[in-house]
C-alpha cells in the first residue's frame, strides 16, 4: 500500500508555496474589490468604428458632471470601460448625451452597473457573515455526523482548517489573477467561493466516512495506518470524480464558455482541485498530527520538520 501520510510536512510546504505568493500580491495590491462591495459605477460603452474619443476627453466629460475619479480602460472588443464613483441615473444620462455630442457617434451601452456606497458595505459585511456561518455550520454538521467516532470534534475542525486552506488558495489565485488579468472580487466570486467551501466539505466527508467505517472494522490498527488506508481506498474515487469529471466540465466552461464565466470557472477549477487535494494532503495529515500530538516534537528534533 502506498504510504501517503509519511511525507505530510512536504505537502504542507507545497500548500504554503501555492498560498503565500498570491496572498503577498493581495497584501501589496490590496483586495481587488469590485463595485458590488465598494459601491461605485461601471459604464461600458461602444462607439461607432473610428469615432471613439480620447480617454482624456471622456475624463473631462465626467469632471464636467462633477465626477472626478473616472478611470478608463478599453476592452478586447474595442469598447470602453469607465469606472467611477456612484452615478445616479440622471448623471449617467447627462454624461451619455455629452458623449454622443463629443464623439459625433451613436453610443451603445453594453453594460452599466451602479451600486450605492451604503449597499456595497452591507453586501461586504453580509458576505463575510455568509462565509463564517458556512464554516460554523460545517463544524457542527461534521461533529454531529461523526459523533460515534472518538474525537468527532477533531474531524469538524480539520475539515474547517482544510476549508480555510482552500479559501486561501482561492484568494491566492485571485491575487495572481488581479495582477495579470484585472480580475475582481464580485458577487460571482463569492458564489464560486461558497461553492468551493461546499464541495471541499463534501470531499472531506468522503474520506472521513471511510475512516469512520474502518475505525469500526480495524480497531487494532495504528491510527496513522488507518487514515492512510482510508485515503488510499478513496483515492481512485477522488481522482475520478474531481479530475476526470468535475474538472473537465469546468475546464470546458473556462476554455469555451463566454467571457463572463471565465473568471468564475477558473476559480472553481482551482478551488475544487484544492478541495480534493486538501482532503488527502491537509485534512487527513492534520488528523494524524493531532492524534500523535506532533507539535510537542517540532522544536526538539529538527529532522522531523523536513
Amino acid at each position: 500500500m502506498i504510504d501517503i501520510l509519511s511525507k505530510r510536512y512536504l505537502y504542507f510546504a507545497v500548500s504554503l508555496l501555492v498560498i503565500v505568493p498570491g496572498l503577498i500580491l493581495l497584501a501589496v495590491g490590496g483586495l481587488p474589490l469590485s463595485i458590488d462591495f465598494t459601491g461605485g459605477s461601471l459604464l461600458e460603452v461602444q462607439f461607432e468604428a473610428g469615432k471613439t474619443p480620447e480617454t482624456a476627453e471622456l475624463v473631462n466629460l465626467y469632471e464636467d458632471a462633477g465626477i472626478d475619479d473616472a478611470q478608463i480602460t478599453s476592452t478586447e472588443s474595442g469598447a470602453l470601460q469607465i469606472r467611477s464613483s456612484f452615478l445616479t441615473n440622471e448623471v449617467r444620462d447627462s454624461i451619455l448625451s455629452a458623449m454622443k455630442e463629443k464623439a459625433g457617434s451613436e453610443v451603445t451601452v453594453i453594460r452599466f452597473d451602479s451600486v450605492g456606497p451604503s449597499i456595497g458595505k452591507q453586501v461586504a459585511s453580509r458576505a463575510a457573515l455568509a462565509v463564517a456561518v458556512a464554516a460554523l455550520a460545517v463544524v457542527i454538521y461534521i461533529t454531529a455526523a461523526f459523533r460515534k467516532v472518538p474525537n468527532a470534534f477533531r474531524y469538524g475542525v480539520c475539515a474547517v482548517i482544510a476549508m480555510a486552506h482552500d479559501v486561501a488558495v482561492v484568494f491566492s489565485v485571485v491575487g495572481i489573477g488581479a495582477m495579470f488579468f484585472d480580475w475582481q472580487i464580485d458577487a460571482l466570486f463569492l458564489t464560486a467561493l461558497l461553492t468551493v467551501i461546499g464541495f471541499s466539505v463534501q470531499d472531506k466527508v468522503v474520506v472521513f466516512d471511510r475512516i469512520r467505517e474502518n475505525s469500526g472494522l480495524l480497531r487494532k490498527l495504528d491510527y496513522e495506518k488507518l487514515v492512510n488506508h482510508s485515503i488510499v481506498q478513496t483515492l481512485q474515487r477522488s481522482i475520478n470524480t474531481q479530475l476526470m469529471t468535475v474538472e473537465f466540465l469546468l475546464l470546458a466552461l473556462a476554455l469555451f464558455g463566454g467571457i463572463t464565466l471565465q473568471e468564475f470557472s477558473v476559480i472553481l477549477l482551482v478551488g475544487l482541485f484544492s478541495g480534493t487535494y486538501s482532503s488527502i494532503f491537509v485534512a487527513a495529515p492534520i488528523l494524524v498530527l493531532w492524534e500523535n500530538r506532533e507539535w510537542t516534537t517540532w522544536f526538539k528534533r529538527k529532522e522531523n520538520a523536513a
Binding site: E44, T88, N89, D93, T108, V109, I110, R111, F112, D113, S114, V115, G116, I119, Q122, V123, R126, A127, A130, A134, A137, V138, Y141, A187, L188, L190, T191, L194, T195, G198, F199, V201, Q202, D203, V205, V206, D209, R212, E213, Q233, R237, N240, T241, M244, T245, V246, F248, L249, A252, L253, L255, F256, G257, G258, I259, T260, L261, F264, S265, L268
Partner: protein, 448 residues
C-alpha cells in the same frame, strides 16, 4: 437484492416520459377527451436571465433613516405599486420582488428603454376620482383624464374630468354592510374634499364615479345618492380579500414608503446571447468527454451511469422549467456542478462495487454491498453541499442578487435530484442489466 424490479423500471420510464414531455413542450395542456374542456394548463416558456438576454435590474431601498422599523406589509404594498406601474408601461416578463426587509428588486429582461422605467418607479402614484358620466370603463383599462393634462398627449381619446385626487382622502376602512353579508369600503374625505364631493354627487346622482390609479381603472361605482358630509361608502360584490386590496389601493395610491434607487444594472443584449451559446456548447463538450471517460473506465456500469445522468439531466431540466427558474449563466454552471455531484455518487458506488468484486464477492452481493456502504458517504457529503446552498440562497435573497440565488437553487435542487437518480435509477438499471445478461468476464465488463 431489489424486489419489484419491473415496477421500478415502469416508474422510471414514466418519470422519464413525463420529464421529456415537459422538456420539449412550450406549454402543458390537459384536455378532457369527453368534453374538450381544458382541465389544466401550465406555461413552460423558458425564462432567460438578464445576463443572457440583457435588460435592466434595479434595486430600490426604503428611503428612511437607518434603523427605522419597516412594516413588511408596507413593503409588499410598495412592491405591488411598482409592479402595477411597470406593468402599465407594457414591459413584458418583469419581475418585482421584496428582497430582505427594506429592499425591492426589479428585473426587466430584454428591456431597451430603461429610462422610462427608472423614471416611473420613483414617482409617487396618482389616485384620481374621475367623472365618466354614463360610462363604466372596464377595470384594468387605461383612461385619459384632464388632471395635469399637459403631460398627457394622446390624441383622439376622450379625456375625462378629474374631480379630485387621493390627496383629498382622509381615511379608508373596510366593514360589513348592515345585513352583515357583504363587505363595503367606508371613506372619509378632508374638509376641502368633502365640499367638492358634496357638490359633484348632488349634480351627478346615478352617474359613474371612476377611481383610477396611475390612469388605470381600479373601480367604477355608481353615485347612488348625494354625499354631503364627506363620509361615504362604496359597495359592490366585494369579498374580504378584494375589499381589503381595494382599500389598500385607495389608502396608499402613493407609495407607503419612499423608495430610492441604490443599484442599477443595465446589460446590453449582445453580451448575453454570445455568452449563452458559448456556455451551452462548452457544457455539451464537457459532458461528452465525461461520458466517454465513464464508459471507457467503468465499462458496463459506466454505460449505466451515462444513461442515469441523461435521465437526471432531463428530470432536473423539467423541474427547472416547471417552476419557471430563470436561466442564468451561473445557473448553467450550478447545473453542471450538480451533474458532477450526480456522477460522484455513481463513482462512489462503482468504486465500492469494484472493491467488493476484488474481495471475491459475487456480482449480486457486490452490487448490494456497494450501495449499502457508499450510501453514508453520498448522503453526508451531499448534505454539506445543500447546507452551503441554503446559506448562498439566504445571502442572495437579502440583496436581490438574483444571480447568486439562481445558482444556489439550481445547485441544491440538482444535488437532491441526483441523489434520487444515483440511488434509484442507477441501481435499478444496473440490476436489470445484470439479470438480463450473463457477465462471465468481469475484466471486460467491469474493468477489473
Amino acid at each position: 437484492m431489489i424486489r419489484n424490479l419491473t415496477n421500478r423500471i415502469i416508474i422510471i420510464v414514466l418519470i422519464l416520459i413525463f420529464a421529456l414531455w415537459i422538456d420539449f413542450s412550450q406549454k402543458v395542456n390537459v384536455i378532457n377527451p369527453l368534453s374538450d374542456e381544458t382541465l389544466f394548463t401550465h406555461d413552460l416558456a423558458p425564462r432567460l436571465g438578464l445576463d443572457l438576454q440583457g435588460g435592466l435590474q434595479v434595486l430600490l431601498e426604503a428611503d428612511v433613516p437607518e434603523g427605522t422599523e419597516i412594516d413588511a406589509a408596507q413593503m409588499e404594498i410598495a412592491r405591488e405599486i411598482v409592479q402595477q406601474r411597470t406593468d402599465a408601461l407594457g414591459v413584458n416578463e418583469n419581475n418585482i420582488q421584496v428582497a430582505g426587509d427594506r429592499r425591492i428588486v426589479g428585473e426587466f429582461p430584454g428591456l431597451e428603454d430603461t429610462e422610462s422605467v427608472l423614471e416611473i418607479i420613483q414617482q409617487t402614484g396618482l389616485l384620481e376620482f374621475v367623472d365618466t358620466g354614463d360610462i363604466a370603463p372596464q377595470e384594468g383599462s387605461i383612461i385619459q383624464t384632464d388632471y395635469n393634462a399637459a403631460s398627457q398627449s394622446a390624441e383622439g381619446e376622450t379625456a375625462y374630468h378629474t374631480i379630485m385626487t387621493g390627496a383629498d382622502l382622509e381615511s379608508v376602512a373596510v366593514s360589513t354592510d348592515t345585513l352583515g353579508t357583504s363587505y363595503i369600503i367606508n371613506f372619509v374625505l378632508t374638509s376641502e374634499g368633502a365640499d367638492i364631493f358634496a357638490e359633484h354627487t348632488a349634480a351627478n346622482t346615478g352617474k359613474y364615479l371612476t377611481i383610477v390609479l396611475d390612469k388605470q381603472v381600479i373601480s367604477s361605482p355608481v353615485i347612488n345618492e348625494p354625499i354631503p358630509s364627506g363620509q361615504g361608502s362604496i359597495s359592490g360584490s366585494f369579498t374580504y380579500e378584494s375589499a381589503n386590496a381595494f382599500a389598500i389601493q385607495l389608502r396608499y395610491g402613493s407609495l407607503p414608503i419612499p423608495l430610492k434607487i441604490v443599484e442599477t444594472r443595465i446589460i446590453g443584449p449582445t453580451l448575453g446571447a454570445d455568452s449563452l451559446n458559448k456556455s451551452l456548447i462548452a457544457g455539451l463538450i464537457g459532458m461528452l468527454i465525461v461520458a466517454l471517460f465513464m464508459i471507457i473506465y467503468y465499462r458496463m456500469p459506466g454505460i449505466v451511469a451515462v444513461i442515469s445522468i441523461l435521465i437526471y439531466a432531463s428530470v432536473a431540466f423539467a423541474v427547472f422549467k416547471w417552476f419557471h427558474f430563470t436561466l442564468t449563466l451561473p445557473g448553467i454552471a450550478g447545473f453542471l456542478l450538480s451533474t458532477g455531484a450526480a456522477l460522484d455518487a455513481n463513482i462512489l458506488i462503482f468504486e465500492r462495487l469494484k472493491e467488493e468484486l476484488r474481495n471475491g464477492r459475487n456480482l449480486t452481493q457486490a452490487v448490494d454491498q456497494g450501495w449499502t456502504r457508499a450510501w453514508s458517504s453520498i448522503r453526508d457529503s451531499n448534505l454539506s453541499t445543500i447546507i452551503t446552498s441554503v446559506i448562498l440562497f439566504w445571502f442572495g435573497s437579502t440583496f436581490g442578487a438574483t444571480i447568486v440565488k439562481g445558482f444556489s437553487v439550481t445547485l441544491a435542487l440538482g444535488v437532491l435530484i441526483s441523489l434520487f437518480t444515483a440511488i434509484y435509477v442507477t441501481r435499478t438499471l444496473l440490476v436489470t442489466f445484470l439479470k438480463s445478461f450473463k457477465f462471465d468476464n468481469l475484466e471486460r465488463w467491469f474493468g477489473i
